[in-house]
Symmetry: C2
Subunit: 149 residues, 2 copies
């Protein structure tokens, strides 16, 4: 794992304890790409499959991870405005969520945030089981915002 991923995982415990308690971990975070994982153990529901709120969290958190990995954290922080999630199959294993933003979109967000102090961006994430089957997909609306604005 990269140093950034180590730093993020150290920070999750203190900044988002609810996600930490689920065992959610960043597994990759670089410009334009983020991935996170969550164990099944402790996160099952009454059907013996991953609880919906856990799948939401492992996907939602990518908006923060990708923003931290892609933009200047000294200037900007991310916040979430909306998330649509669809549960497409039962998650019966540990899960992995991933999302990406292409270079054109990163450049647009950076330019708009520099000009206006904030910039919205959408992020589509997928949550996969260990066999690579999609168990949930999310479409999120986030905002990159300048500190102090």
């Amino acid at each position: 794992m990269s140093e950034l991923v180590d730093t993020i995982n150290g920070a999750i415990q203190f900044t988002i304890p609810a996600a930490h308690k689920m065992g959610i971990k960043a597994i990759e975070a670089r410009r334009g790409y983020a991935a996170a994982s969550v164990p099944l153990e402790g996160n099952g529901n009454h059907f013996g499959v991953m609880y919906a709120g856990v799948e939401f969290t492992v996907a939602e958190i990518l908006g923060g991870l990708i923003a931290i990995a892609s933009f200047d954290s000294a200037k900007y922080y991310p916040l979430v405005k909306k998330v649509d999630i669809e549960f497409t199959a039962a998650g019966r294993t540990d899960l992995r969520a991933e999302a990406s933003l292409d270079e054109d979109e990163l450049a647009r967000v950076e330019a708009e945030a520099a000009e206006k102090g904030k910039a919205d961006f959408t992020l589509d994430a997928v949550v996969l089981d260990e066999a690579g089957q999609t168990v949930a997909v999310t479409h999120g609306l986030y905002q990159l915002r300048a500190h102090g604005k």
Copy 2:
């Protein structure tokens, strides 16, 4: 609190431990109406406000609570298919989520489930802070399904 609410809160610990760890509790559950609460303590994020995944969970869980309180649990169980959530204000206090279904909709779901073994229903929930301000709204698609189907 009603005996049903006590029973539900006892069950959440074992059936949805991730929600239990957040401190989510049913506070009312009767035919056509459900409400749940979650404390801010332990659930804040890096802005000192309730983390998005916690607000999702306290709202999403109402689909299960209202189904258990409204329909015959011996015959049917609920599952969640989709949830759209919009975060409308920062949640800086303990939160309460509530949702209702009217009698016509309850009757439709019951009739359809009896005939087909399953019936979809939508549930709109609101998440409120202690001052009564809306901090999030959800629109969920659930399914009531007969056991063994």
